[in-house]
């Protein structure tokens, strides 16, 4: 599945958060949206599954196409099952490990007989199964921070999304947990479209990755990660990578 963002702008009230963004997201080519805090990374991700509209007084222009279909023509719950999201802060629902992962499939009407297999598959895909196999009934809040973030990834995968959006998924984790999550994401990106927002260029160096550098709501430049990170064309990107702009 391919997502095309065409000349897309987004406003919170009178504040323009995204300005004429053009992007293409294809499976097998994970997209890393790179930029400093406040550059519009989170807004861009939230626009891709229309969570941004929950903010209330918002306005948009341009189009976001999911396999050619304008996402505004899709029912938001249906769209969000196709475009899953993992947030910066791992947020386990106040339920057991099992119920957290089963939450999305239950909403989608997956029957009980299929649920166990779906939960196990998702936890395995998120590289969490060996650690929680005997603790599925335990409250998810008892897991460590890194485990909670992998649980969030498993929970998103359990719905079977075609695209996975990750908003700073390693921002609140220790270096070891962050590296595990990054490796997991590159593995996942082989099978499905992955978009990751981050202010840290280090996780962007995975294989096949593309980078879009966002600054004040505008895509400054985009292209293969190796190219952009090694030889940025724009001085803003250069300054950001050198730590002179933040």
């Amino acid at each position: 599945m391919t997502i095309r963002v065409e000349d897309y702008s987004f406003w919170y009230g009178g504040l323009r958060a995204l300005s004429r963004v053009n992007l293409t997201i294809a499976p097998g080519e994970p997209l890393v949206v790179l930029g400093p805090a406040g550059s519009g990374k989170t807004t861009l991700l939230r626009c891709l599954n229309r969570l941004s509209e929950r903010a209330g007084d918002t306005r948009q222009a341009g189009r976001i196409l999911l396999d050619g279909e304008d996402i505004r023509d899709l029912d938001p719950p249906v769209l969000r099952r196709r475009v899953g999201m993992v947030f910066a802060l791992p947020t386990p629902l106040p339920l057991s490990v099992y119920e957290n992962v089963a939450y999305g499939p239950r909403l989608a009407g997956i029957g009980r007989h299929e649920l166990d297999a779906r939960v196990e598959w998702s936890l395995r895909a998120a590289a969490l199964w060996p650690e929680v196999e005997g603790r599925l009934g335990e409250p998810a809040g008892r897991l460590s921070g890194g485990q909670q973030q992998r649980l969030a990834i498993a929970r998103a995968l359990a719905v079977g999304p075609e695209v996975l959006l990750l908003d700073e998924p390693t921002a609140h984790l220790d270096p070891l947990s962050a590296r595990r999550i990054a490796e997991l994401l590159w593995d996942l990106s082989r099978q499905q479209a992955v978009v990751m927002a981050t202010h840290d260029p280090r996780p962007a160096t995975g294989p096949r990755a593309r980078v879009a550098f966002l600054y004040l709501g505008r895509v400054v430049e985009q292209g293969p990660a190796a190219e952009i990170l090694a030889r940025p064309r724009d001085s803003l990107t250069r300054d950001f990578l050198a730590g002179r702009v933040g």
Partner: protein, 273 residues
């Protein structure tokens, strides 16, 4: 440092004073009332206007009035709170509803009694009855339930809702599966306040349920609540002992309801977390 110590002493003092007043009040009522409370006092019908016999009809009246009030007000109040918190954006209409609810919460209960008398007893022809009394109490406790439920719902972390929506949840699914279970302790607190206020209300009940001392057999029968019974026995000087006995039963009953709800809540939360 000295300021901190002074503040700590003052805060401890305030807390102890509050606890002391509560204990003194409950202790006084129980000390005076418990000696007359026995099985017969609870199960027998009163005689000689309440000077002798028990308080059974007033126990039934109180339970019926409070149960009816909560049965009507709880779904209505929680539903309104869900609507205000989850389905509307903060706007003029919502602010007006909130202002009206706040204002209603401050209206003296005797005015609710008058309103209930004019609407339910006279206009709708329900007469002095459990139904009139229960509905009046429902109107009276509605603002409390709405505000406490709304606050409890708003206190549910936004991140829970975001997770549910991001997983394809509709507003209804998110409310039922995430918001309400998380807000339940607060909602239950509001309902319990409503139970306590209904069971202890006097003015609104005298106007609408009447003061008849016989056992109510249907919703259209008049009834006397324990608090009204206590008020009449004490004011008319019929039997101060029985008045205190009634008050002791009322205090213990409300405490029992609160403790049961607290216990259920603990069990529910232990299962969830």
């Amino acid at each position: 440092m000295r300021g901190d110590r002074l503040a700590a002493v003052l805060l401890w003092g305030a807390a102890l004073l509050t606890l002391g007043v509560l204990l003194a009040l409950v202790g006084h009522v129980l000390a005076r009332g418990l000696p007359v409370v026995d099985r017969e006092f609870l199960m027998a019908r009163p005689s000689s206007m309440g000077r002798a016999g028990g308080i059974f009809p007033t126990v039934v009246g109180t339970v019926a009035l409070a149960a009816l009030a909560v049965a009507v007000a709880a779904p209505l109040g929680v539903g309104t709170a869900i609507y205000l918190a989850e389905y509307t954006r903060r706007g003029r209409l919502v602010e007006m509803i909130r202002f009206a609810t706040d204002s209603l919460a401050g209206v003296p209960s005797i005015l609710f009694g008058l309103f209930g008398f004019l609407l339910f007893v006279v206009r709708l022809g329900l007469g002095w009855s459990v139904l009139s009394g229960g509905l009046t109490l429902a109107v009276m406790i509605l603002p409390t339930i709405i505000r406490t439920a709304e606050e409890a719902i708003r206190a549910v972390p936004e991140s829970y809702r975001e997770v549910s929506y991001a997983l394809g949840g509709t507003t209804g699914q998110t409310v039922v599966r995430v918001v309400l279970p998380s807000a339940l302790p607060g909602i239950l607190t509001g309902i319990l306040l409503g139970v306590g206020r209904s069971a202890g209300e006097t003015a609104a009940v005298i106007f609408t349920a009447g003061t008849a001392l016989r056992l109510p057999r249907s919703l259209l029968d008049p009834a006397r609540s324990m608090s009204v019974h206590f008020f009449i026995l004490a004011r008319e000087g019929i039997s101060p002992d029985n008045a205190y006995g009634t008050a002791a039963v009322l205090v213990l009953a409300i405490t029992a309801v609160n403790l049961t709800a607290y216990w259920l809540l603990q069990r529910f939360q232990a299962r969830r977390h």
